[in-house]
Amino acid sequence: MRGTPVRGLIPLVVLLVLWEVLGDPASPYFPPPSTWVDGVSPLVESDRLLPAIGDTSLTFVLGLFIATVLGSLVGTLVGASRPVDRALSPSLEFLRALPAASLVPVAALVLGYTAQMKLVVVVLPAMWPILLTCRSARRSLSPVLLDTPRTLGLSGWDRMTKVLTPALLPAVLLGVRVAAPLALIITLLVEIVTRVNGLGAALGAAQSSFLSAQVYGLLTIAGVLGFVVNWVVTRAETAVSRRMRGTT
């Protein structure tokens, strides 16, 4: 599988063109795409857009990164050991189901209204897909593949870096693909809820001021942000999968 071809954007473009042509330019709820640029221009003029994109990107990417590290570690651990899996699963399952919005005040009590607080709230749900895909990939690894480095006397570290990590990498990246939009959603949600810096804060403000063209403009920017990260991860995943062809 190669990277996702750009041709695949055709249906989306058709949809947007239809919206532009058939949409009512005066609609307060569904302004056509051509109005979106004007919608966000006040933010550009007041120099608020770029910092907002920066703040959101930072939380999103950093959150996703931490979630990836934690998710693959915990996922590998619970995938490798049934007792650990049984001990941790219900608690993890419980935490996962908690809505981010009700975690915000709790996290804020401990960390204040800071970027770290945003990170904590983002990491928990975002690590879940990575944890689960990693866990199931670890479970279905061939025992012979796992025995090989042991019999060759590789140290624990070498077993992890030279065998386990490459073998689980495709699964981790699949998990990251699923987690990326989730991390973005939660980042925006936390920003909407707290109005702590970022696109979500701008989005929330625009929404409560009924600036729908600005809302769509900001959503598009957020969407592009998510798409770019997705695209990078997908590229990485396809490149890795191709190298792993023997196993897949």
Binding site: D147, L152, K162, R243
Partner: protein
């Protein structure tokens, strides 16, 4: 050096746990070459996995140099029957062979890899990925990887099973030479009676269900052995005969008589 006493192994099965091995006593001396024979499914692979520290026994005691085996002991390397799964598909042949010796400095490592690849006749294919190789080639990569480690003990599970007669003979002799030169202890699972007799100091046959060692036979043929000279010896032919008979096999016996 390797010994197991009253070894038993139970594995999960569709209808509850199954007792695979029971009451197995085996002692392999340093530098000894022991072959393990037995019908398909008798438990040879399981026994080898226990000796290699890859599978824990349900009962009995297994030691290597007097130390209880828990995990693969240093210098004990297993060559797996399932070669397809034991090669890392993301590494080239060369890097697969180097996997166990990457702590060595580059010159030493390279020379060992080159040597091992030459032994198995794959010097030319060192840049290839394993999934582009034929079955027999993959098996040889695995053997090369084990040889590059220069192990004290080699546990080999049907290592030459997927090889044609000529390649097999050549590898048998390479193995024989290496073992003799370095004093390597070898436990060798095979289906090939002639190969077992030709290579071994002793051969054991797993039989029964749960399996244990039904026959143990010394092979006092002089070393070094030779594919032509040894196989023409009367005592070689007699031993072969004896093993076939013990396996209840009327064919090889007569056909070669």
């Amino acid at each position: 050096m390797i010994s197991c006493d009253d070894l038993s192994v139970t594995l999960p099965g569709a209808n509850g746990p199954v007792n695979i091995l029971s009451g197995v006593h085996l002692r392999v001396a340093k530098g000894e070459f022991v072959s393990v024979l037995g019908t398909s499914g008798s438990g040879k692979t399981t026994l080898l996995r226990v000796l290699g520290g890859l599978q824990s026994a349900t009962g009995g005691r297994i030691t290597c140099d007097g130390v209880d085996i828990a995990g693969p002991p240093d210098g004990v390397v297993t060559v797996f029957q399932d070669y397809a799964h034991s090669l890392l598909p993301w590494r080239t042949v060369r890097r697969n062979v180097a996997l166990g010796i990457e702590k060595l400095d580059k010159t030493e490592r390279d020379s060992r890899v080159d040597e091992a690849l030459a032994m198995v006749g794959l010097s030319e294919r060192d840049g290839e990925y394993p999934w582009r190789l034929s079955g027999g080639m993959q098996q040889r990569v695995q053997i090369a990887r084990a040889l590059a480690m220069r192990p004290r003990v080699l546990l080999m599970d049907e290592p030459f099973g997927a090889l044609d007669a000529m390649t097999k003979a050549s590898l048998q002799d390479q193995l024989q030479q290496v073992a003799e030169l370095t004093g390597t202890t070898v436990v060798f699972v095979t289906h090939d009676v002639e190969e077992a007799v030709y290579l071994s100091d002793r051969l054991v046959v797993l039989s029964g269900s749960p399996a244990n060692i039904g026959l143990s036979l010394d092979v006092p043929l002089p070393r070094p052995r030779d594919q032509i000279a040894t196989k023409e010896r009367a005592d070689y032919l007699e031993l072969r005969h004896e093993v076939y008979a013990a396996l209840g096999h009327k064919v090889g016996e007569r056909a070669s008589g």
